[in-house]
């Protein structure tokens, strides 16, 4: 298992492959070969070759789709559409299994009805992180926060004002998070995990001194269930 995972991640050391992976993973839609090739500035056949390598390593998923309306001979080969694989790749060296530990701890918290203690601990952890962020970047604004959450793996949807043109963009007064860093735990213990995450992020906002921002649960399948937005009175 670990050997296959190391091989999969090893594929990403190639700069072109990594650029293709990053681009596809960053999209809210399935990506065609032509789009991916254009985004990374590579020739289409070369991009296709690397995209299929990423599929073989289960870093990307692929779906074949006929161009609408055309059937029968002469309708051409179906188009391949790529998106990030739902498969989770984990390499920890030496081997570690914090995920099992997290599930067992969550089960114990639930059995004991200790939600409030978990939320309080999460809030305090968030506040510590927020204070550390504030020490590094005083007067943290929504852009600072977005970039910090990016470092934490939440994959914030970029501000539409940022205008990369390629990626899906969100409104400037809200932060939507494309990735749930606690995905398998959140699937097994949804209210507990999402509640913990909410308090982590509320603590972060408080600790960083972002008084004009607030976090709330706004669940959506396949994403982080927390949304951060500018408070109305600000």
């Amino acid at each position: 298992m670990t050997e296959a995972e190391i091989d999969a991640l090893g594929l990403l050391t190639d700069p072109l492959r990594r650029a293709l992976y990053r681009y596809v993973a960053g999209q809210d839609h399935e990506v065609s070969r032509a789009e991916a090739a254009e985004a990374v500035g590579a020739q289409r056949n070369l991009a296709a070759f690397h995209l299929d390598k990423l599929v073989a390593a289960r870093l990307l998923d692929v779906r074949q789709q006929r161009i609408s309306g055309r059937t029968g001979p002469g309708s051409g080969r179906p188009a391949k559409l790529y998106r990030r694989s739902t498969r989770q790749h984990t390499v920890q060296l030496p081997p570690r299994d914090y995920e099992t530990a997290a599930h067992v701890l969550a089960e114990a918290v639930e059995r004991h009805g200790a939600d409030a203690a978990l939320y309080a601990a999460a809030r305090e952890e968030g506040e510590r992180r927020g204070a550390a962020l504030a020490a590094r970047a005083p007067d943290a604004d929504i852009a600072t926060l977005r970039s910090y959450l990016g470092e934490c793996g939440y994959e914030p949807v970029p501000d539409e004002g940022a205008g990369s043109g390629q990626e899906a963009a969100g409104p400037p007064d809200r932060v939507r998070l494309r990735n749930c860093p606690f995905h398998t735990l959140a699937a097994a213990f949804p209210p507990l995990t999402c509640g913990m995450n909410l308090e982590l992020l509320r603590g972060l906002l408080a600790g960083a001194g972002c008084s004009g921002l607030s976090a709330r649960l706004a669940p959506e399948s396949g994403r982080c269930c927390v949304e951060i937005s500018k408070t109305n009175e600000n």
Partner: protein, 154 residues
Amino acid sequence: MTEHHLAQLNIGRLRAPLDDPRMADFVRELAPVNALAESSPGFVWRLREEETDDATGLRPFGPDILVNMSVWESYDALWAFTYRTDGHLEVLRRRASWFVRDPAPTLVLWWVPAGTAPSLDEAVERLARLRADGPSPEAFDFRSPADPPGATAT
């Protein structure tokens, strides 16, 4: 082969009567959350007391225990409504402020033939079964889902 829908019953022991100020937020959320359920993909039916819009007046488990029962097209539909609907996850998160925690299961799932509504008596029985014997295809929970009767194993 008959198509099956998923029935759910969940119960909660109130921390205070519904007219107590401590329950005000819960009471305020009732109608909007019920409406949210009805407009969610896969919703089929929910239990209502006669001449009212909800089931808060039905107390088969005791005077301080609320029941909530509904039917959904599939396990995924109920899961998505329960845990991934804006407005409902927040209510679940705050559940402990309105209901006393019960170490025994308070939610039970089972399959019913499509087009039939389960009776409250049957629901009470299913929960008793889950509590007595643990999850089975006749009475299960979100953590141990069972396939609908006649479904081919995948």
